[in-house]
Each structure stands twice: as structure tokens, then as C-alpha cells.
Amino acid sequence: MNEFAPLIHNFWYLLRGATMTVLMATSSVVPATILGVLLALLNIFGGRLMRSAMLGYLFLIRGIPLLVLLTFVYYLMPLTGIDLPPFWGVVLVISLYYAAFISEVFRAGILSLPQAQWDAALSLGMTRGLMLQIVILPQAMRLAAPPYVSLCVSLVKATSLVSIVGLWELTMASREVVERTLAPFQIFIGAAAIYFSICYALALYGRYLERRVLLGH
């Protein structure tokens, strides 16, 4: 196992990078989820203007790579004089980016509920707020959970892009170690293994949720 000595010696350093990755991912996923649910509700219940604004937003986000937006903000911040720490800058971009996808997942969850659920809630005389709170959203959340979790996996992987704009996390840490040890194969395999254990754990949780959705029907 002599070939893997560079990896073993630097594994703690990579793990420290991984905690930064997890921190960045969780800081992004919370605002992205809140914004995503709000956007989904606005898209469904908002007027025509709101809906076309959402369509435009989705078109932009679906068509432009995250890396382009990240580098744009990276070059933009000194120009506009916005003094935001880089960490919060990338968290903002990632949140806005994933909010669009999350809103689509929740919108699909809400719209795939049978019409009878809405009719039944209305005929019981529920207000719209109550109907959403105790009938529609709990069921929609359960339907949307599996695709939501796979978006979370994608978000964790997407945090690797911030290394290109110079932020320190797992990918950046592994690049630094490679420059010191000149052992790219071993180090990147180590980094991939760490990413895999984070993402696969999430993916397994998603699969468990998926089975539960199927059982419920």
C-alpha cells in the first residue's frame, strides 16, 4: 500500500475540506428549499404576471450553467463594490440556482394530487390557507421528497465548482494536496470516495423515501 501513502497522510486534510463542503451545502440547501416552496406556491396561486416571471426565471436557470453564474458573480463583486464574503456569495448563487429546480419539484408534487383532494377540502368549507396546510402540502411534500433528495445530491456535487472560483472546500483541498504530493490518481480517488459516501448516503435515504411513497398508494 506504499502507493497510497500520500492519500493516507493527507486524509485528515481532505476530511477538513469535506466538512467545508457539507457546511456550504447545508447553508445553501436551507434557503433554496424555503425559496423553492414559496416560488412553487406563487407559480400555482399567483396571477398571470407571476407565472410568466417564473417561466422566465426557470428558462434562465435551466439554460445557463451554474459555473457561468458563479464566475460571473466572482468577477462582478469587485466591480459593483458589494462587500460580501466569497462564502456567502457562492451560497447565494447556489441557493438561487437550486431554488428554481426545487420549485419545479414541489410544483409537480402539488399538481399531481388528484382533483378530489381539492374538491373535498373545499366542500368541507376550508379556507385556502387551512386547505394547503393540512391537506395539500403534507401530501405534496411526501410525493416531492424523492426527487427533492436527488436535487440535494446534485447540490452537494455542485459545491465542487466553487473551487474554480477559489473557495476552499474538498475539491480545492484535494488540488492543493495533489500539488504538494504529485499523486493525482490516489488523492482524487480519495476525494471521490469522500464525496461518494456523502452523496450515496443521501441517495439511499431518497430511495427509502421513494419506497414509502409507493407504499402509500
Partner: protein
């Protein structure tokens, strides 16, 4: 100074040159993945070691970031003695990752065909070949085209990451031009518009294919 016509006149050909590389990468990746993904999906369906290997491959590539795979291929392979060019490494990593996604799309398409369709075909005395070509596959094709369209859009966006290994596609050219001209707005606007155009074209092609091939619904 933003929106200088002389600057834009020089910028557009440079970006289009990058777009050519992006399109080459994306089209090659999609073409290879359509075949490679099918092979992986078929192998994954087999009982025994081949099925496990295919399943392991799918989970591995789907749960690690593309950027790490790119570094692994580009730097790792050259260290191991057989170096690949940036373009070839990019293509290999893009195909490795997206092959896993495409395989899952095929699997999902096949699983979504109800077992009653198989039973009905057999009850009518169809041979295996007729059953698959006349009954099952048309339905699978109809169901995989929308997710495949989404995947091709994701591939176009993923090609931007190849900039990290110095392939001169849109993203890398954007970076070079921003660094040399300091004309951030024009360059990023141009890059974003090209990406939006490319992804819109992919979406339209998908819609057309859906209309032409999805006769079985």
C-alpha cells in the same frame, strides 16, 4: 465600457469558436451515452457479477462530482503513463458520468411499462421479438424521450466544467476574455446567450423527437 460595438464585433467570433467545441463535446457525449447507457442498463438487468458491476458503476458515477472525475482522468491518467488531451479527458469524463444517468433513464422507462403489457402480448401468442419491438419498446421510447431531452440540456451545461482542464470551450474563452479585456458584462452576457440558445435548441429537438417518435402513448 459596456456595450462597445467594436468590442462586441471581436467578441462574437471568439465565443462562437468556443461554442463549436462545446457543441462537439455535447453531441459526441450524447451520442456515445445513448449507446453506452443502453449497454450499462442491459448489464444492470443481468443477475450475477455483471449486474453488480454495472450497478456499482451507476452509483459511483452518479454520486461523485463531474469535476473530480475530470481531474482524475486528466491528471491521474497522465501520471499513470497514458496522458489524454484535454478534449479527450473531458469527453471520457462526461461520458462516464452521463452514461450512468442515461442507464437509469432507460431502466426507468422499461420499468414504467406495466407487466400487464407483457402478459397481454404473451397471451396473444407473440414471440419475444415481436412483443418487444411492437409492444414494449415503442412505449419505452415514448417515455424516455422527455428525460433524455433534459439530460442533453444537462450535458450542454456540464461541458462548461471542462474549462477547468483548459479546453477552449465557451466557459474558458469567457474567462480569458474577461481577464484580458475587463469587459465583464459583455462577455458574460454573450456566453449566457449562447448557452441559452444551445439549450433551447436541444429542448426543441427533444420536443420534435417526442412528436415524431412518441406515437405510442
Amino acid at each position: 465600457m459596456p456595450f462597445d460595438p467594436h468590442f462586441i464585433a471581436r467578441l462574437i467570433p471568439a465565443l462562437l469558436e468556443g461554442a463549436e467545441v462545446t457543441v462537439e463535446l455535447a453531441v459526441l457525449t450524447m451520442a456515445i451515452c445513448l449507446v453506452w447507457g443502453l449497454l450499462v442498463a442491459l448489464a444492470n438487468g443481468v443477475r450475477g457479477p455483471l449486474g453488480w458491476i454495472a450497478g456499482g458503476y451507476i452509483q459511483l458515477v452518479r454520486n461523485t462530482p463531474l469535476l473530480i472525475q475530470l481531474y482524475l482522468v486528466y491528471f491521474g491518467f497522465s501520471m499513470a503513463g497514458f496522458g489524454l488531451s484535454g478534449f479527450a479527458s473531458g469527453l471520457l469524463a462526461l461520458c462516464a458520468q452521463n452514461g450512468g444517468y442515461v442507464a437509469e433513464i432507460y431502466r426507468g422507462g422499461l420499468q414504467s411499462v406495466s407487466t400487464r403489457q407483457f402478459e397481454a402480448g404473451r397471451a396473444l401468442g407473440m414471440r419475444r421479438w415481436t412483443l418487444y419491438t411492437a409492444v414494449i419498446l415503442p412505449q419505452v421510447v415514448a417515455r424516455v424521450i422527455p428525460p433524455l431531452t433534459n439530460q442533453s440540456i444537462a450535458i450542454i451545461k456540464d461541458t462548461s466544467q471542462v474549462a477547468a482542464i483548459a479546453v477552449m470551450e465557451i466557459m474558458k474563452i469567457t474567462e480569458v476574455w474577461v481577464e484580458t479585456s475587463a469587459n465583464t458584462y459583455d462577455v458574460f452576457l454573450g456566453a449566457a446567450l449562447i448557452y441559452l440558445a444551445l439549450t433551447s435548441i436541444a429542448g426543441l429537438v427533444g420536443k420534435l423527437a417526442e412528436r415524431r417518435l412518441a406515437f405510442a402513448q
